[in-house]
Amino acid sequence: MATDDVPRRRDGRRLPLGAGRGIRVRTAAIGIVLAGYAWAAGSTTPLTATALVFVLIPGVVLAVIACWWPPERIPAPDKLDIIGVSYWAICVAALFEWEASAYKDNSLPWHPSLTDLINPLLEPHIIKSTAFLVWMLVGWALVRR
């Protein structure tokens, strides 16, 4: 085994022998649990207490992790390039403006809101479950930031 193949912590220290396999097994187990949870969440009916609970649990779990057991965070940049950020700002503002104008018009068929366009796409169970899984992973990515 080459020296570079030895599993290491983020600070460069070596992990104990077998730790790499243990991490992979733990990651796989968490992935299976999350996929199962997303599959169950995808089968809930909107506007029910069950659907609300399925959304509440990841929020509470991630909030608890963020407050009491924060993971090693990816350092945020000290400053951002103002020109580079302005491109993002234009896109985000355009998206919000277009959504707000649809909302103001009560999302009529001739100017539907993003929600009215996305909701039919989320109707198939597999799509809704996948979207739910992505939503949970985005939440975890935010906790790590």
Binding site: G59, P75, G84, C91, L95, W110, I118, G139, L142
Partner: protein
């Protein structure tokens, strides 16, 4: 002639595609454009920013999956 509904959908599509393009450009070496993770991380440096971004994430889940 393009109907207003199609125009609305096209504009949403263009804006979202532009965001994906920005993320792609931001990941090139030496890019001055921040990735979405970088500017979100920057916004989350103060505690209030972290809380608001987290609430926004949760609201999205509630909006699309619970109602």
């Amino acid at each position: 002639m393009m109907s207003t509904r199609v125009l609305t959908i096209v504009v949403f599509g263009v804006v979202i595609a532009a965001m994906f393009a920005l993320e792609f450009l931001a990941r090139r070496p030496g890019s001055r454009i921040p990735t979405v993770g970088q500017w979100l991380g920057y916004l989350m440096r103060p505690r209030i920013g972290r809380v608001l971004i987290f609430l926004g994430w949760w609201w999205l889940g509630w909006h699309y999956f619970a109602r």
